[in-house]
Symmetry: D2
Subunit: 257 residues, 4 copies
């Protein structure tokens, strides 16, 4: 499992989410409280939207708590929409290419969760990424694969539908192996204008996902950044959220291959 | 392009090849003389055989000239058969998973060269690695792919034939893209008992390859480790060498898909 | 705080201590049980004695649990005397130069503990390392400093006395700042022939230290590698142990500046 | 030797200097033309001023040509004043703490050059950094030391005088060892409002230094970023330049201990 946080709203410093809060993402890299894995020290990453269409990206394999570059960057860079992630590897190697968020063109994507038996069907997964999207296949994670499968399944036109198709396909391959749990996930992704989040599991243990309205915008998190605040709202399992500056639209999320 | 060196014979310290000679592999990482790429600073690696069936492996993304671990390891470890490589990336990322030598079970493999247009047909390449061998596909290089394609094409029973099949298939895919040169390679690989080397190109510019008899054994190199010595013997293009402690057997190398 | 393990005896694979046991050093890098810091993911290191006078050294900033090089090395290398360490940084940066064990000539040294207020008197500490030893001052830790202070205080002739002098001086400087605890430490060091360990604190909370007789030799650890075994013997606080192949000699350890 | 580039003027993307030009700083990391060292692959760094008083900093030990983070950052971040550096190590280790630019509070500093015999008098150098500035001494380079010596010698009030004092002291220590050349340097430093540069040598071989007026501001470089442009102006040896948005003020630079 991993931990992540995403923000959309008025431009704020990345550090307001990544390093500053009492239980910030950096704190969660050392000791998370609602995660299967307490320590998420297998790399980290940022994707932030500024003046360019494509996001800026920074990844490294060091534990987030140890990285001076991350602190400096978060202290300097403002953004109206950004994704941040700390990784706990589930079987694949620690390398920059396996750090989230992943990106392709204007899209960015991060994931917490896993597909049961993935190591057994990784080749099938890679084969289900189409020719055009394969150029972005740089690592070996199921996470990057779900992103690229969705990218090739109409992410641009229908984000929810594309992610449902990708998730459904991954889950079907897991069912073929018989290894449970087949699919547990939270996802955040963006095209630079909207923030999309999903929470889903094939069983009753969907990883946690919350959102909260801040003065400047909205933040979505794996677990609360500050437990002193009481207005974290859980996103129900089986949900897909489309978040723009003013609004959160919740729909049912139904993966189908 | 990259530079490499391999040794088979009585156990010697790795440093006798990797760091000590006048134009050692570490020197070649900074400034090689017979290479398309002068600087080979995109990572390095060692695979050495000791008491175990599988080789010990050490890789890092730092330039070889900068790595204290490499110097210390080479100074301490003796081996009767080892492969050492310094990398110049040709399009794929710098990561430990893209460093040579690659290994699977008792086999180790390293490569200098490239397949024209590889980035365009990488997905085809990955698809030609069979299910069993795909578990070893950790990076994105054409080098690792050739190894795994050969592994799945009978490397155990017929090393030369398997490598011919893998090379031929890679070259055929390159011809389909029309990007030249289609195939240029030198390869060294081992099962821990024998050292196999190949030199081949689809045109007349096969990367250089030499061997030399030392007092303790035989060394095979991309370029001479010490130009003061005059008895470096070039391995002809289109050759496959099987080297054991006493003998070098040369055969024609004819890739065919 | 950190965790460490040292071995002296018949040559064994490093992995018998570093990776194989139920609560191996690699396990302790993720989750230690008797440590102030549960996670020790700020780098790791090995120093092992083979045929050379000086030890082989391998360090990296990655968490030990994530490093493939470490596993491979530990699986291949045998040694009659070695030190292994996983680091939890206490204020100084994560870099290879701040990883233990440190080495100078034939000596290697590792440490778990801290000197209260060290950041305030680091310059004083550096000034107390003599000219000859300063060439080995590559990092900024109090640990490396204690080693070099001891090296310059007669480590070669009188290991216990030299370490007492270095520890006493460091403790005195801490007392000058008024920051408690002034000194808590366990140390392991070696000249390649003997293994020396110390356990000491200026208060009543000396970090834990145990040893155990294995069939092949003796292992000294911060915390047991395997709790199923009941014959771990605690080394009392305020002790200095000199361990050779057959014998453990315990003396009082009394730091004095 | 190393290569660097600095800019002051209207905010521009860092990439306009770091990655985009024909002979950009990244190109110079692989193959510089006017440098003692052709390859400058021992790490790199950026310091850029934005909304904060202190600069943002990014450093890594990878060769600049290999780092995806650097390209992304340079593509996204705009700044009105920034320093960028690619390193060729001259005896001290490759680590993030030895990468330039160095920073303390609002000040940033980078250097190309060396002090003859530095390894012999490094302890004397460290001792000449005062108590307050020593907290910033994280590495082992002469470069970082010159910065901290200047910081403690009145950098805030008199940048030129402080740098003259620091350089003079370093040069005097070099003369004591008898190792030539005693001092060769180019330096760029900033307080976030002004850019200061210096070019000096104790002999007649001061490293090269040029500046050029761009449409948006002024750039100062070790060697031209684009040789097609003919209006690069050499800064004479023994000069200290104070550069603000509109003006370049040149004064004599006379180091004295």
């Amino acid at each position: 499992m991993c931990r992540w946080a995403a923000y959309i709203g008025d431009p704020i410093y990345l550090e307001d989410i990544v390093t500053a809060p009492g239980q910030s993402l950096i704190s969660q890299s050392l000791r998370a409280t609602e995660s299967k894995t307490e320590t998420n020290g297998d790399g980290f990453g940022l994707a932030w939207y500024g003046e360019r269409e494509e996001p800026g990206c920074y990844h490294d394999v060091l534990p987030a708590w140890a990285d001076g570059n991350l602190r400096s960057l978060a202290h300097q860079v403002r953004s109206k929409l950004f994704l941040a992630h700390v990784r706990a590897a589930t079987g694949t190697s620690t390398s920059r290419t396996n750090c989230h968020p992943f990106s392709a063109g204007k899209w960015s994507f991060m994931h917490n969760g896993q597909a049961g038996g993935y190591a057994q069907f990784r080749r099938r997964v890679d084969m289900s990424i189409n020719e055009r999207c394969y150029a972005h296949r740089n690592g070996t994670t199921d996470s990057e694969a779900i992103f690229l499968m969705a990218l090739g399944a109409g992410l641009e036109e229908d984000p929810k539908g594309a992610l449902e198709r990708a998730t459904g396909l991954m889950e079907a391959m897991s069912r073929d192996t018989g290894v449970t749990p087949h699919m547990r996930m939270t996802v955040a992704m963006s095209d630079g204008a909207r923030l999309f989040c999903a929470r889903y599991a094939s069983d009753e243990f969907a990883p946690t996902l919350y959102h909260r309205r801040m003065e400047s915008g909205r933040v979505v998190v794996s677990e609360p950044l500050d437990r002193a605040l009481s207005d974290w709202v859980a996103i129900p399992p089986g949900s897909f959220a489309t978040i723009t500056e003013g609004e959160v639209k919740l729909e049912e999320f139904r993966p189908a291959a």
